[in-house]
Symmetry: C2
Subunit: 318 residues, 2 copies
């Protein structure tokens, strides 16, 4: 039988999403299993394999599946491992690709979720036909997937593309989850936007509808909603975030001169509130030769399917 579908698996701290995907990026069937209830990874793999088999009953069975692609935290593409992932139960180095492959009798590839998103965008999304682009994921953290000459950059050890941990504020920068200070992620993530909001509320007496929300509960979504209502503090927060992100992107362009930068993840729901200052700051900070020439695009993958699509795209390359 023609192996015309792939499986995409996106492993998060609480749940794993899985789906069957065709070459056009249609998710034909999907389901979810827990990823936080198995202390032993082998038991998780058995659950995952069972869920995959069950899912394929909705298409043409396992015989129609070409391979499995997985997006996982701290995933190492070269070794097919999860390595020291702080938010997963399985500690140390876990040879997940091999375990899943042995269980299913199919080839398996894995990488981190931002790299998977980049492959997904190249396979099904706005980056189709592009050879050189950078995907920036603006979620709880800031991740990146870098494509050069049509290939994801994995680096000598499989861990390249940590652009969320480039240092943007060298003096008195915010503490980042990585233990260092001033990382892009501490500012340009959803968490970073909320931190910026709290800093402004705490250090100024500017009037804003954000003060109606309990201080510790302010989210980037609240800031976006306030900005959409014309709240000037909320608009300033997005301008601040976009300015910093745009300046960072200008340095990334100096590295690999991509055709486009593709923004993905929760913060992009703010639309032009974030895109306009990013594009302006990018062009203000670029070398003359690139001014006005680097595209900035939002991902075109359907939000609910994006994680599965990104992961699945890896499997077409197997």
């Amino acid at each position: 039988m023609d192996r015309k579908y792939v499986i995409g698996v996106d492993i998060g701290g609480q749940t794993s999403k899985l789906g069957v995907v065709d070459t056009r990026g249609n998710v034909l069937a999907q389901s979810v299993i827990r990823s936080d209830t198995h202390d032993d990874v082998n038991l998780y793999v058995k659950d995952l394999a069972a869920a995959i088999r069950k899912l394929t009953d909705q298409v043409e069975g396992m015989a129609a599946i070409r391979g499995v692609g997985m997006g996982v935290p701290n995933g190492n593409y070269y070794r097919g491992t999860i390595e020291f992932a702080p938010n997963l139960k399985w500690k140390g180095v876990v040879p997940l690709a091999q375990l899943v492959s042995d269980e299913l009798g199919l080839p398996v590839a894995l990488t981190n979720d931002a790299n998977a998103a980049a492959v997904g965008e190249m396979t099904y999304g706005v980056a189709r036909g592009m050879k050189d682009f950078i995907m920036i994921t603006l979620g709880t953290g800031v991740g990146s997937g870098i494509v050069i000459g049509g290939n994801v950059v994995y680096g000598h050890d499989g861990f390249a593309g940590e652009l969320g941990h480039t240092v943007q504020v060298r003096n008195n920068g915010r503490l980042c989850g990585c233990g260092r200070n001033g990382c892009l992620e501490a500012y340009a993530s959803a968490v970073g936007v909320a931190r910026t909001a709290r800093e402004i509320l705490e250090t100024t007496d500017r009037g804003t509808i954000l003060r109606e929300i309990p201080w510790e509960k302010i989210s980037s979504k609240d800031v976006a909603e306030a900005a959409q209502q014309g709240d000037s503090v909320a608009i300033d927060i997005f301008n601040f975030t976009g300015n910093m992100l745009g300046a960072a992107l200008a340095d990334f362009v100096a590295f690999s001169s991509p055709e486009a930068i593709i923004l993905f993840g929760g913060l992009t729901k703010a639309g032009d509130l974030i895109k306009t200052p990013v594009v302006e700051s990018l062009n203000n900070n670029l070398l003359d030769l690139w001014k006005g020439k680097i595209k900035v695009e939002f991902s075109q993958l359907k939000e609910s399917d994006a994680a599965i699509l990104g992961a699945s795209a890896l499997a077409w390359e197997l």
Copy 2:
């Protein structure tokens, strides 16, 4: 006849160096022509072709030449052009590779000098066998050649690898030759080291033998010599330079996770004066996963031959 040699041409603002090179990186014959006396690039190309023909008389003639590699300011590898080079007489976009190829009847490739240095290091130098490394050239400016998966990164337009123009000081940064402020090049170049020296002399009254040199004539070489004699101001200047360069390199590692960073050019003559603070700062600034794991090496190409070797290495790939 076996085409067993290549020609390397390094074009600078004043002179062009050219040489015949064998597969092991021996420069068998070399010469120099002016690059600043021809307003018409076609006349320059005729001079260059004549010099190349003459040079090959010293080996086995033009029939033994496989191709020509050229390192040129603002060189575009994809198009074989020089584009808007501020320090050359030929303005606009010059299709140099085609002109030289037509004149000699040989394949010609060109790129900028830092990319050429990276290819040279990979072909003949300390990066032999490496697939992922970053070459940083510390000369009058700061250039870079990035190799990922064994290929130089040219980007979507041929201009990737401008790491000297990543912004390291976002507030009150030094004016850079590119017209922006705070670029790495304004600090970590030979010119940058001299600027740091002048700043310290001007803003402090610290005692240093550098005060014996006319203020406007202080060079990075003077600073290195003073440091080698134990002058504490001069040593501080190298520590400052190395700290900033190391922090910048940590961000570059977050991008492409190279096996090694290779330092090349005039400033490397300072040896451990520059290398020690660079390595320390790099490791202080890296994410934990890379601490102590990224090699920092000096180029092993013979200084006098390096420009020709770098350029020539391009020709083996033709």
